[in-house]
């Protein structure tokens, strides 16, 4: 437990040997991987199997809802994984140092993207039940046809998984050889990757969610969905960081890191609300029949309660709960808000998916919850495995010193 770590020491030479309050930081864990969440892993495995069982039953009884639930669960989990990837790329492209000490968490989220990808590909056999354009003529056949749709889906998922793979591989390689070139390459990868994610993320939102209603369109939809990706990413990172540092696994993390994550949750939640309002207000204002169908379906029947609850859970509550400075600095409090935001993320996706069918009333029961349980638990399991595959503190990252001496 007493491996001297050069990268760390180089980082705070400016302290001039002083600074007793930072002395505990010297006890960084040795650069070797160790398992994470060994107690939770069997539980998650059992939950995944239970969820799969529930999905099997739903598939026989309510096939349409089973696929709709799977789509909502898959997109939610993809948002979390992609959110982790985007966070890591954003930190790299902006040369941000504060998050380096916790960067294994976003990397592990990105490494679990394949779970969401497999779940989403599982929706393809039931595409005819969800996407009206599969069987009905609609005049947009050049873009919305099943072979091209599946090809785009495969391409986009491969792109995200590929970016996550290159990112984690280079980050872990630096653990072994301490070479600076990995950091430089990751900056280049980030610039290109963020551009590609911006474009592919919009296409993904148009394809997988917006095309559920063949004739409805909104140019805000891509950005709206990507704001959800940012919220999902930062919330999941906060949960991971708080739970890990509570167990002493992230010695470099202090209140200032939690504060920053809280600020980002607050900001991204508000960005989401801004885009939610922008999309809704313009359609409300213009009042054009081909645009209002989307909101008509969601504010009539039993849906309107969930529609407004969505706004409260995704923005109203987090906005109030995270506004005081002390709230953003408390690990327990930010953990609670992060869990709330992740649950609300699923609700938002569910409301993008489910009302597009012919259901007049919302139904959240076995088909939806079993899919969420199976995909979510499997995602959590893969995240834990990914966390155990690399040292939780990236000891040779040149920004580690800066990150561990985060002055707020």
């Amino acid at each position: 437990m007493s491996v001297v770590n050069v990268g760390h020491d180089a980082g705070h030479g400016h302290d001039g040997g002083h600074g007793h309050d930072a002395a505990d930081l010297h006890a960084a864990p040795p650069p070797k991987a160790s398992p994470v969440g060994l107690g939770a892993q069997p539980v998650l495995l059992v939950l995944t199997l239970l969820g799969l069982g529930g999905m099997g039953v739903s598939l026989l009884l309510w096939p349409q809802r089973a696929f709709s639930g799977l789509l909502a669960a898959a997109v939610t989990v993809l948002m979390v994984g992609l959110g982790g990837l985007v966070f890591a790329l954003l930190m790299a492209v902006s040369n941000a140092g504060w998050a380096t000490t916790l960067k294994r968490v976003p990397e592990a989220l990105a490494a679990a993207l394949p779970v969401g990808a497999i779940a989403l590909l599982g929706v393809l056999p039931g595409a005819a039940l969800l996407f009206g354009w599969v069987e009905h003529p609609h005049g947009r056949g050049a873009w919305l046809n099943l072979p091209f749709f599946a090809a785009r889906m495969g391409g986009i998922l491969l792109l995200w998984i590929g970016l996550a793979f290159i990112l984690t591989r280079s980050s872990r390689a630096q653990d072994r050889d301490a070479a600076l070139r990995h950091t430089r390459r990751t900056v280049a990868l980030s610039a290109l990757g963020l551009l590609l994610i911006g474009l592919s993320g919009s296409v993904a939102a148009f394809d997988w969610l917006m095309s559920l209603e063949t004739h409805w369109y909104s140019t805000m939809y891509g950005l709206y969905s990507l704001s959800g990706v940012l919220v999902a990413g930062v919330s999941a990172i906060t949960i991971g960081v708080v739970l890990l540092s509570r167990r002493g696994r992230l010695p470099g993390v202090g209140d200032n890191h939690i504060h920053d994550l809280g600020k980002l949750m607050f900001g991204f939640s508000t960005l989401w609300a801004y885009l939610w309002l922008s999309q809704w207000l313009l359609i409300w204002y213009a009042n054009l029949p081909e645009e209002t169908t989307y909101y008509l379906a969601r504010t009539s029947g039993g849906w309107s309660f969930l529609f407004w609850l969505n706004l409260v859970l995704n923005w109203g509550l987090p906005f109030v709960l995270l506004m005081p400075r002390a709230a953003k600095r408390s690990p327990e409090h930010t953990l609670r808000v992060a869990i709330l935001l992740l649950a609300a993320r699923w609700l938002d996706v569910y409301l993008m998916v489910a009302p597009s069918g012919d259901a007049i009333h919302p139904g959240i029961s076995l088909p939806e919850l079993s899919a969420l349980l199976a995909v979510g638990a499997c995602f959590g399991l893969v995240v834990l495995r990914a966390l155990g595959r690399a040292p939780l503190t990236p000891v040779h990252d040149p920004y580690l010193g800066e990150s561990q001496h985060h002055p707020g």
Binding site: D15, G16, L277, L281, W284, N287, G408
Partner: protein, 174 residues
């Protein structure tokens, strides 16, 4: 206010931060610190209380929200009801953008105004004395000398040990 100050000058922020921490630990009263740019962690090192400015921001922001909603409702629904696209005169959603903008405007202007008033930043004849070089390349820590048991030599020694390149006494608060 303060009758006299002991000012220690530093080449860099680390010396300043260290001196601020040690001066507080030694029971010395810090008058203020002067730096060419914002130094992270200085507030904590000086032991400053959290700023009360956010409360002004919140209050001004809420005032802006309420004022904007009230005024729009009065103009479009009460004083002269207008039919816009067949919507009801009091159409709450249409008022949101203006209310949002006015919230931001009042919050921002109110915060800046409150800051200027509180720190006494105003146009005036005869500028207050400015410590040399703190707007350029020096960092200064000003200690109060009015304490009962203030020991000037010991305080200067503490600052020099922390890395001060120069320590001098100033008669009145700058």
């Amino acid at each position: 206010m303060t009758s006299g100050l002991l000012v220690a000058y530093f080449e860099d922020e680390n010396g300043l931060l260290r001196a601020a921490r040690e001066a507080r630990a030694a029971g010395l009263k810090i008058h203020d610190a002067y730096t060419p740019y914002a130094v992270h962690g200085l507030d904590a090192a000086m032991g400053q209380r959290p700023s009360r400015l956010p409360w002004v921001t919140l209050l001004c922001g809420l005032t802006g929200t309420l004022l904007a909603f009230w005024f729009q409702r009065w103009t479009s629904a009460v004083s002269w009801p207008i039919n816009v696209g067949g919507k009801p005169a009091h159409s709450f959603p249409a008022f949101i953008p203006v209310a949002f903008e006015f919230t931001v405007l009042l919050a921002a202007l109110g915060t800046v105004a409150a800051l200027f008033i509180r720190v006494g930043l105003r146009p005036r004849v005869g500028l207050p004395r400015v410590l040399p070089r703190v707007t350029n390349d020096r960092f200064a820590l000003a200690l109060c000398t009015d304490g009962e048991d203030f020991n000037g030599a010991a305080a200067a020694e503490l600052c020099r040990n922390a890395g001060a390149c120069e320590v001098s006494a100033v008669e009145e608060a700058p």
